[in-house]
Amino acid sequence: MHRGLLTCLLLIGMISTVGGAEHPRRVVSVNLCTDQLLLMLGEPGQIASVSHLALEPNSSYMARQATDYPINHGKAEEILALKPDLIVAGAYTDRSLIALLKKLGYRVEQFPLSSSIDDIRDNIRLMARLIGRGVRGEALIAEMDRRLQQVTRRRPAVRPRGVFYQPNGYTGGIDTLQHSALELAGWENIAASEGVVGYGTIDLERLVLARPEQLFTSSYAPGTRSRGQDQLEHPVLRRLTRGRAPVEVGYKYWICGGPMIADAVEILHRSLPR
């Protein structure tokens, strides 16, 4: 009986230590995309620091929440001072920084870029698993899927032609979140039909020949002027869309993949012609 109690106590102890090892207590994020996932999924006490980019309201969906936490600038010294037990970074975060942190024995996890809704689900699950918040992760995914389904149920039978047109003729083709969002909202993405893959340029004449009914922009720096930005005001575009101004869909919805894609899909759906 004595032995039984001891075994029982030992078991409880093991479970709790195993659980403790699985749940990092001081997570540091050095990348805008992992910042936002961490802010959405992490327990407040678990988040040791997010990057300074998380505060920038044009690119960060979680800018308000980020103000509650210490900020880092991706410098090794400040990261070490935070005594992290997990560092989360993007696939393209400064390689020398990642190598240094790993060499010093820190646990570093890198997240791939998202170019589809499936990628977004994968990244949410990855973050939730790493910080031991699986239930919260599934709830976030379910909420995103519910909102996306609500839009896709009401998609028109004949899809109007839309396209993202950005400074210097850049557009989002196949394998981009912009493309996924346009399709889910019920638009036909001209960039994809014209064979653009990823983020690339589309020639002005080709764009006009494809007869877009609506242009979308996603301004990186609203209110500034340059030749590249002036190109969006070319008179031919306005005449082509019969005077309809381009619809602005914030940059923060797709610079990083996350459940905020549902916001973008809803904006795109609302701008469908009635």
Partner: protein, 335 residues
């Protein structure tokens, strides 16, 4: 002087004019997609133009018009400056007018003045061109030899380019820095009729002021004193040409960026054909400049789609070796 080459003025002008017309129409035929151009031109006149009509009137027509007008401006300004300074190397590109114009336009465009005042960008171009031209003239002095003039031009050009880079680095737009190439090399792609109308008033005013200077420039070939005794006021002539160049080159460059060597090469090629007479060179250089720039702009579109070759790259590829040839030639005379 080879008399064989000395064509009748009317004949030369007619040949050049038909070349310009031919290139202008060719330019309308070239784009990223084959287009039934005649049908497009007809449909652009409809009350509600079709898509191909819009491509014709809003994309291809302004491009050809801007190439025509800018080329003519650069050729004409080069001929007038070479006549005034009696210096074969004077041209908007080499003595700083073009880079000064680019600097003025950059200062206006990227810092939002163009939004406040509709003509702020071309006016910045004019002011920059005038300032740069005048500075080079002051530095080189009235009786400047080729070398002094070129050195003064090099200095002002370098200064203007450094200022352009600085301004573009300081500009609030994140796209600004990448556009340094556009201002240094020049581009006629993706402009609109609005851009054409913006550049036109200054350009036309400059042309009108220049086309009346032929007789004075002819007199000037006999030397400044002789010209003075013939009743020509050099001060007036000098300011008239400087202002005219500033108005026309300033407006054109504020839209296209600085396109090199057109103003240098064209007057040289045509000079023997007009019997070395500045007055006859003016019209010829205007037509020749238009033809050269139209041809260069057509050539940029023959590269595979997606390669964004700036038109100034091509004019410089032709112009720079020509410039070297001029230097070698002038050295031979000096030795």
């Amino acid at each position: 002087m080879t008399p064989l080459l000395k064509l009748h003025q009317g004949t030369l002008a007619a040949i050049l004019a038909s070349l310009v017309c031919l290139l202008f129409v060719t330019s309308l035929f070239i784009g990223s997609n084959p287009l039934p151009v005649w049908q497009a031109a007809r449909e652009s006149l409809l009350d509600t133009p079709t898509v191909i009509g819009l491509i014709f009137s809003e994309i291809r027509l302004p491009r050809a018009l801007i190439a025509l007008v800018t080329g003519a401006t650069l050729g004409l300004a080069g001929a007038a400056m070479q006549g005034l300074l009696r210096n074969p190397l004077a041209s908007p590109g080499l003595i700083g007018s073009a880079s000064g114009a680019a600097l003025g336009a950059v200062g206006m465009l990227y810092f939002g003045f163009g939004t406040l005042l509709p003509l702020a960008v071309p006016m910045g171009g004019m002011a920059g061109a005038l300032l740069a031209t005048f500075l080079v003239y002051l530095m080189a002095g009235r009786e400047a030899g080729s070398l002094t003039l070129i050195l003064a031009g090099v200095a002002i050009n370098a200064l203007a380019l450094a200022m352009i880079s600085l301004l573009l680095n300081l500009a609030p737009s994140p796209y600004a820095v990448r556009e340094i190439v556009l201002w240094m090399m020049g581009s006629i792609a993706n402009h609109s009729m609005h851009d054409f109308w913006t550049m036109l008033p200054g350009v036309l005013l400059g042309w009108l002021m220049l086309l009346g200077t032929g007789r004075s420039l002819d007199a000037l070939t006999l030397g400044e004193e002789t010209a003075s005794t013939m009743g020509i006021s050099l001060v007036v002539l000098r300011w008239r040409i400087f202002l005219a160049v500033a108005l026309s080159v300033g407006s054109a460059v504020s839209i296209t960026g600085s396109i090199g060597f057109v103003g240098l090469v064209v007057p040289h090629l045509l000079r023997p054909l007009v019997g070395y007479q500045p007055s006859r060179l003016l019209l010829g250089s205007a037509l020749g400049g238009a033809a050269l720039l139209l041809a260069a702009d057509i050539a940029t579109r023959l590269f595979p789609a997606g390669t964004d070759i700036k038109v100034g790259v091509l004019t410089s590829l032709v112009g720079a070796p020509f410039f070297l040839y001029l230097i070698l030639k002038s050295r031979r005379y000096q030795l």
